[in-house]
């Protein structure tokens, strides 16, 4: 049996009244891939932050290779052989790969020798683990999958024996994710220990040796992956039985509610993000737009919502045009029955420093129901917020709590409650379940399907292929700003994956 690489003994960590980690015990054997799953707010990130030296545990002990260690800063963690690949990359965008790799380990004042070292080291790592990256490429010009590889190289270059990956596949295509898993397997074969934090249970099943489940700050179970199932893990995470796939009945389609024709959008640098896109969304259907993040779906969504200006093309809402190339006003579109759940709830959909009830009217603050002349009708707004909290089961049920203190899933419910309760004819939704726990995903999916069943038109944008396939009546695939294919709900993952990777001609690929 392999010896233990990391052992956590009785780790406790509180933030004020919140007990984020409660008496955590965990053993990770050397040379294994260990998955850690849990809902948002379960304490996974806190635990990993303790391990990587961002926080100090209130009590408890960390042992690496059987020896107790003190990890006060990330530098201590690196010295102990622990490396971390963050969900959001910590790379200097306009540096080359090799410059990024030596960042923080530059050595002397003159960089020549350390760069030379790094080059030979990179060549060795490339040989051993199949981690090919051109050392002189500028990071921002690399695709996301390769940028992630640079992060892994950074950790290995510093001699990491234990690698923590936080939600590593969130930004990858299915093919890139597969490649990542091959690399991880290779690393494991070389004796490295890997800790994988993810909410994608399928990945856990595919690649890990052992899996630990966290719930409400506690480590509720550790299983051998071979002895467990997706269903069991989901139940352990949520603490009750969950439907992983929401039931969806047949629904007759109605008239065209939203019609997009030849839409072209450029970003502030003049790069074409959306190119000649046309599609319709009818009443009573969910149209899903699948694609790898960064292929123009965000810009498409923002343009339809009136936040971003289009260069050319038209968008019609209920047959009447939206002035997408001119002064489209989100407030006016809301009044016309177009609700928008934005991709980025932290910066766009919510003001995190507001109290919950203040966010429950964001965008609808012109509604006379919330106003008394120029004044806000605070009592009416709070009552309305309390009603939404009750019907959407938003927790904690306190409309005076700062929005930042809600978990991701509950924040998303605040946005959804606000947008859906106004009974819009068209709902456009971006990444509805990003960073949202399993229990809330089920709830959100049910709500979206209820919207469709109520005869609303729903446009769904998501980088989660599972989500697109579970919800959509029709699936459009976007690649490099263009719609490269349309499939019905029965399309296979492989088929969509190829389209998402830009392989338009299916026959040629097969």
């Amino acid at each position: 049996m392999a010896e233990t690489a990391i052992e956590l003994v009785g780790i406790n960590k509180s933030f004020g009244a919140v007990h984020a980690n409660r008496d955590i015990h965990l053993e990770i054997p050397r040379g294994t891939i260990h998955g850690i799953v849990g809902e948002n707010g379960a304490g996974k990130s806190t635990l990993m932050s303790i391990l990587y030296g961002f926080y100090q545990a209130d009590s408890g002990e960390i042992r690496v290779d059987g020896k107790p260690v003190t990890i006060a800063t990330p530098n201590d963690a690196i010295a102990t052989g622990i490396g971390m690949v963050h969900q959001h990359f910590m790379l200097v965008q306009n540096f080359t790969v090799v410059e990024n790799v030596i960042l923080g380990a530059e050595g002397e004042a003159l960089l020549n020798s350390s760069i030379a070292n790094a080059r030979s080291e990179l060549a060795r790592l490339e040989r051993e683990y199949g981690l090919e990256v051109a050392p002189d490429a500028i990071v921002e010009e690399l695709p996301v999958g390769l940028q992630q590889r640079v992060e892994i190289l950074k950790a290995l270059y510093r001699g990491a024996e234990i690698l923590i990956l936080d939600e590593p596949t969130g930004v990858l295509t299915p093919a890139e994710a597969d490649h990542l898993f091959r690399i991880l397997s290779q690393l494991k074969a070389e004796g490295k220990t890997i800790v994988l934090i993810t909410h994608k249970l399928r990945e856990i099943m595919a690649i890990t040796d052992n899996v630990s489940v966290m719930r409400q700050g506690q480590m509720v179970a550790t299983r051998k992956t071979a002895d467990t199932s997706v269903e069991e893990l989901a139940e352990l995470m949520v603490g009750r039985h969950v439907l992983l796939r929401v039931e969806k009945g047949e629904k007759e389609r109605g008239e065209v509610k939203l019609s997009v024709k030849n839409l072209t959008v450029k970003d502030s640098r003049g790069v074409t993000m959306v190119s000649d896109v046309s599609f319709d969304v009818r009443a009573g259907e969910i149209v899903g737009i699948a694609g790898v993040a960064g292929n123009g779906q965000s810009e498409l969504l923002e343009t339809i919502a009136g936040i971003r200006k289009a260069q050319s093309g038209t968008v019609h809402l209920d047959g009447a045009p939206i002035d997408v190339t001119g002064a489209a006003d989100p407030a006016e579109l809301r009044a016309r029955g177009l609700a928008h759940v934005p991709e980025d709830r932290h910066h766009v959909g919510l003001v995190l420093s507001f109290e919950e009830y203040e966010n429950s009217i964001l965008g609808y603050h012109d509604d006379p129901a919330y106003l008394k002349g120029p004044f806000l009708d605070i009592e009416a707004i709070r009552a309305d917020a309390r009603a939404k909290i009750a019907s959407y089961d938003i927790r904690p049920a306190n409309e005076r709590l700062k929005t930042a203190n809600f978990s991701g899933g509950n924040q998303q419910k605040i946005v959804l409650a606000r947008e859906i309760e106004k009974d819009p004819g068209v709902l456009i939704v971006g990444q509805p379940t990003r960073g949202v726990d399993v229990g809330a995903i089920e709830f959100i999916h049910k709500r979206l399907i209820a919207m469709r069943d109520a005869g609303k038109a729903v446009l769904l944008i998501s980088v989660e292929l599972d989500e697109i396939r579970a919800l959509s009546d029709r699936i459009l695939v976007i690649f490099d700003g263009r719609i490269v294919g349309e499939r019905d709900a029965g399309a296979t993952e492989g088929e969509l994956g190829l389209l998402m990777a830009g392989v338009e001609n299916q026959e040629a690929a097969e």
């Binding site: 960590k13 004020g16 948002n40 707010g41 006003d329 989100p330 203040e358």
Partner: protein, 379 residues
């Protein structure tokens, strides 16, 4: 990534941290006093005595505070909209023009209680107009408001000098100031208010505009936390993207916020011009616009914090003047150093002790109840 520290209870956030910063500022100031060979404890005693020792001293302290309340509120309103208005000095200076024009026109026709509302409109209107230009340049042309408002301070100063040596100066006079206003252009003193509490004030510049300042503090609270416009201003200030998403016009909010801010700064002129001197003089603002920045920072941009912060700075001004008089080694410039230290610790280094205090609270927090809930993990 998780929130690093527990949220502090309000009393610590608004009370303990400013108090701590002040203590440190005074300790360092005490060392400076020691350095020039005076006893810091005696200096402190003189200062407090000078600020609050008699009815007259209190009246002077509150007179200075009045100006700082106005300029502090001006900076705070802009802060809420995510704007840093450094132009309070210029807006207040030019606001004096509004006061003077009204007073010069109506002081011998109308009683003060009719001139006063007109002068308020004049001060606020011209202050707002002066703030409108940088606001417009920011909203439409992307010129940064910090730069433009600083530059507009200089333009205001030059313009006022030009007017005070020219058009506004009585023909026979050699001083760069307007004629003295008739009683219809002067505000009643509030000395009786202090005498009500048992102090004695023979004469002081403490006047009615203090009550206007308190009323404005209430109005600012109402605006920011209770109106739709205030909601829009705060949304814009916290997250421009969220404001865009909510259909809140950025241009409109920037313009309106800056005009409210400029109006408040402009009203500061009422205190010295109509309340004290009874005429418009050169440099009557005397740095109150800049002190407003420190006041707003220290008062957390909340009227309930701004009023006490303004009184603190009023105390430093009045007590400092007494100190310079009593202690020959301590010059007027030393007082500026002490004030500077307070601004440094309470304003610029406001966050210096916050992490350690937060860590302290976090470690105590496990036992305490309260609503110091903080999400342990955020998506």
């Amino acid at each position: 990534m998780s929130t690093p520290y527990a949220k502090l209870p309000a009393w610590a956030d608004y009370g303990l941290i400013p108090f701590f910063n002040l203590v440190v500022a005074f300790v360092v100031a005490g060392l400076v006093v020691l350095l020039v060979g005076e006893n810091p404890f005696r200096a402190a005693a003189i200062m407090v005595e000078g600020a609050f020792g008699s009815g007259r001293n209190i009246a002077y302290t509150l007179f200075y505070s009045t100006s700082f309340i106005f300029t502090g509120l001006a900076v705070a309103v802009a802060f809420h909209g995510g704007l840093f208005n450094i132009g309070g000095e210029g807006q207040a200076y030019i606001g004096g023009l509004g006061v003077a024009l009204v007073c010069l026109s109506f002081d011998s026709i109308l009683p003060w209680w009719l001139t006063f509302p007109l002068a308020v409109l004049g001060a606020a209107g011209i202050g707002a107009a002066w703030a409108f230009i940088p606001a417009y340049l920011q909203a439409r042309r992307g010129s940064h408001i910090v730069i433009t408002t600083i530059m507009f301070n200089f333009i205001a100063a030059s313009l006022m000098v030009y007017l005070l040596v020219g058009a506004l100066k009585p023909l026979s006079s050699m001083a760069p100031q307007t004629r003295t206003f008739a009683p219809g252009g002067q505000l009643p003193k509030l000395n009786w208010l202090i005498e009500l509490f048992g102090g004695t004030v023979r004469s002081s510049p403490f006047n009615l505009s203090f009550l206007l300042a308190l009323f404005c503090a209430f109005l600012v609270w109402l605006l920011i936390w209770r109106t739709r416009l205030g909601y829009e201003i705060r949304t814009q200030g916290f997250s421009a993207k969220a404001a865009r998403y909510a259909g809140i016009g950025e241009t409109r909010i920037v313009l309106v916020t800056m005009m409210v801010s400029g109006a408040l700064a402009g009203m500061m002129a009422l205190n010295p011009v109509m309340g004290d001197q009874g005429r418009l003089q050169l440099d009557f603002v005397a740095g109150a616009g800049f002190v407003g920045i420190a006041v707003a920072l220290m008062g957390r941009s909340h009227p309930a914090g701004i009023v006490p912060a303004a009184i603190l700075f009023g105390m430093l001004y009045q007590g400092g003047a007494e100190l310079a008089f009593e202690m020959p080694n301590i010059s007027r410039d030393m007082i500026v150093i002490i004030q500077g230290l307070v601004i440094l610790f309470a304003g610029a280094l406001e966050n210096m002790f916050r992490p350690s205090i937060q860590t302290l609270f976090a470690s105590l927090g496990a036992q305490s109840s309260g609503v110091s809930a903080s999400s342990s993990e955020r998506a």
